[in-house]
Every structure is written in structure tokens, then in C-alpha cells.
């Protein structure tokens, strides 16, 4: 698994700052394969798509 903000291994290093930043950012990396996702932000939400692992929304 990968950090969806910085794209590094989730189990390695400290991702506390990433988690805090994610409160005000959509994810950028697919947590399953670390590909950069296509992310569209709209006023009330976002969608993030990995070509391999599908679309996440909020």
C-alpha cells in the first residue's frame, strides 16, 4: 500500500504531515499501485481515477 498524498510506501516513513494535508487536498496517488491518478476537484467534492484500480470520490 502507498500513501495517497506523497506516493511513498505507506508502511515506511512518517506520513502524519500527509494525513494532515489530506484534510484539505484530494488524493494524488493510487494507494494500490502508486500511479498518479487523474483528479478532478469540483466545488462540492472530487473524483480521483486510477486506470487500473478505478475511481474514488468524495
Amino acid at each position: 500500500m502507498f500513501c495517497d498524498r506523497c506516493g511513498n510506501q505507506a508502511a515506511e516513513g512518517d506520513h502524519t504531515a500527509c494525513a494532515a494535508a489530506r484534510e484539505l487536498e484530494p488524493p494524488r496517488f493510487c494507494p494500490e499501485c502508486r500511479r498518479r491518478m487523474k483528479v478532478q476537484v469540483v466545488p462540492t467534492g472530487w473524483t480521483a481515477s486510477c486506470v487500473e484500480h478505478g475511481t474514488r470520490t468524495a
Binding site: 484534510e23 484539505l24 487536498e25 478532478q40 476537484v41 469540483v42 466545488p43 472530487w46
Partner: protein, 331 residues
């Protein structure tokens, strides 16, 4: 009481004449203990020259990322190792975003594209998008598409775009340290064309790009000279992978001083809280800003980052007894 605040009270509050560059600098240098009085004065100026209404706007990115320019703060430049990928929003999603924005009570919907200037494809998308929004949603449409040709200015007017955003970003003297792929003067040129077309001019920038206090004052004075209808104030939210990714964020008190100073430089403009306020000022900051010179907000999310929920801002406005500007009041 400080001398500059006395001066501002008679010059700006009573006579409606904005502060000049030297005076703005004095305001930016006021000590922390003068801040409450400064914010109160900026608020009084806003109430007298603009009134209690707050203009609410939503923004959306029609074309994200992959920009050929090198604005050092921007995660959408294709020249940096930013994780933001290029993506286009389709027209149904654009209309849906406009609907969601209108549902918050917002009267402004700004369509933004990460480009140096529009190409044919973008202008065609705009024409279709604006038409579709106008057919279905009761909201005014603004645009921010970079540098324009005269023909593109005329096309946007023809589409019914009523306001055009093009930020100078920072003062003239600091600009070359922030952007090298185009000049401040080129941006000024687009703004002049927009002004002459009859569209409303929306022009602001970002604080915290490494500018000095003197340069912050220079920027406010240059904006005042342009005299835009609206000035969006952003505070740098350092983006990973950009040259300014490690820049410290603007201190809350400096941000509030700057807001008040910009208001005292431009008593009648729509001064809008834009990106970065959540990072620089936290939740309480929105309240302080609205009581210190701000009279407009972007609600909901930004282009590539998220904002606090629109409902939080709308509840705050109710609390402060500041009515949301109605559509009829803006036409």
C-alpha cells in the same frame, strides 16, 4: 492611537480616497497591538463604501494541469514534478458544478483553465459550457483562461461572460522571481483589453511568494492603480514539487494586516478571500477577515485543493448578519 490610522480614518473612511504606497507600507508595519484597531477601521471602510453584503462565488477547473508556464507557486505547471495530472472537465459535469454552486446561494461561478492563453479547443468548450450553464442555472459566469487576444476578449463578451479574472499575482518588481515564461506587463496588457471590453476586471494575487513588506505595499498600490472590480486575495499554500514548495506560509497576523491594508488601498473593491485562508488563518480566520475588510468569499473547494464546506461559511455569514449578495443586486 497611531498616526497612520488617524490619517486613514479621514482620508479613506470619510473621503473614500485609498492609501498610497508609502501609507500602505506604514499600515503593513503596524505592531500587533494596533491590529484590532486596524481591522475595525478596515471593516468600517468596507461597510461604508461597499455595504454589508458578501459576494459568494464558486470556482471550477475546466482544464487542470499540464500548463506550459512556470509560475513557481503553481501545482498545475507541467514544468515541475507536481503530482497534478492533466484532466478536462466535461460539459455535463461543468453544468452540475454550476448547479451545486448556485444551490449555496452563490451568484458567481468562475470557470478556470490552466493555460498560457486559450486555444481553439478551449474557446469551443467555453462557448458550449457557458451556453449550457445559462440555459439551466441562474448564476453569473466569470472566466479565467490566461492571457487573451482581442478576438478572444470579444468572443468571451459575446458568450455572456461578465467578469474576467487575470491575477497579476505579485508586484511588478517581484514578478520575475516568480514567473519567467511571461511578464507582468503581458498580464497587464490582457487586463487593459478586458477593461476596455466592458467585462468586469477581477485581478489579485498571492501573498507569501517571498515578497518583502515593501513589495506587498507596491502590489497593493499597483492593484489600486488598475482599480479592478474585484481583488481575490490568496495566501500561498506551498505545493509539493513546485519551486515554492518549501516556502513558509504567511503568518495569520500578517495576513490580516495585509487584508486590512488592501482594503484601505481600495475602499470600494470587492475584496475576496480566495485560496489558502484555511492554511494561513485556520477556521477562526475567516471570521476575522470578514470583520477586517473582506466582503466576498470563494465557497467550497478550489481548483486542485479543498476548502471548508460552503455551509460553514454561510452559517458564519448568518452569524455575522452579513447578507449574501443576491443575483438581482449584481446585475
Amino acid at each position: 492611537m497611531s498616526e497612520i490610522l488617524d490619517r486613514a480614518r479621514s482620508q479613506v473612511l470619510n473621503d473614500g480616497v485609498g492609501l498610497d504606497e508609502a501609507q500602505i507600507l506604514e499600515v503593513l508595519r503596524l505592531p500587533d497591538d494596533a491590529l484590532p484597531e486596524l481591522l475595525q477601521l478596515a471593516h468600517d471602510v468596507r461597510m461604508k463604501w461597499c455595504g454589508p453584503e458578501v459576494e459568494v462565488e464558486g470556482i471550477v477547473s475546466l482544464k487542470t494541469g499540464g500548463c506550459p508556464e512556470d509560475c513557481h507557486f503553481c501545482s498545475q505547471s507541467g514544468l515541475f514534478a507536481s503530482p497534478v495530472r492533466s484532466v478536462w472537465l466535461d460539459i455535463p459535469s461543468l453544468v452540475e458544478a454550476a448547479k451545486q454552486t448556485a444551490a449555496t446561494g452563490a451568484t458567481e461561478f468562475c470557470i478556470v483553465a490552466a493555460v498560457r492563453g486559450p486555444d481553439q479547443r478551449l474557446m469551443t468548450q467555453m462557448r458550449e459550457g457557458v451556453k449550457a450553464i445559462k440555459a439551466e442555472v441562474d448564476i453569473q459566469v466569470a472566466a479565467s483562461l490566461g492571457m487573451l487576444t482581442q478576438e478572444q476578449v470579444d468572443d468571451l463578451v459575446d458568450m455572456g461572460v461578465h467578469r474576467y479574472n487575470h491575477n497579476l499575482e505579485t508586484c511588478q518588481s517581484h514578478f520575475p522571481h516568480v514567473v519567467t515564461t511571461h511578464t507582468w506587463e503581458e498580464r497587464w496588457g490582457t487586463l487593459k483589453m478586458v477593461r476596455d471590453s466592458g467585462m468586469e476586471v477581477c485581478c489579485g494575487g498571492i501573498l507569501g511568494l517571498g515578497e518583502t513588506l515593501e513589495q506587498r505595499a507596491e502590489f497593493a498600490a499597483q492593484l489600486a492603480e488598475l482599480d479592478p472590480h474585484e481583488v481575490p486575495m490568496n495566501f500561498l499554500n506551498p505545493r509539493p514539487g513546485t519551486p515554492l514548495g518549501d516556502q513558509p506560509v504567511v503568518e495569520g497576523k500578517d495576513a490580516l494586516r495585509a487584508i486590512a491594508a488592501f482594503r484601505l488601498a481600495m475602499p470600494r473593491t470587492i475584496l475576496r478571500f480566495a485560496g489558502g485562508r484555511e492554511i494561513t488563518l485556520g477556521d477562526l480566520g475567516t471570521r476575522d477577515g470578514l470583520l477586517g475588510g473582506i466582503n466576498a468569499v470563494i465557497v467550497g473547494n478550489y481548483l486542485t485543493t479543498l476548502g471548508r464546506p460552503a455551509t460553514s461559511d454561510l452559517e458564519l455569514l448568518q452569524d455575522l448578519k452579513m447578507p449574501v449578495k443576491a443575483l438581482s443586486a449584481t446585475i
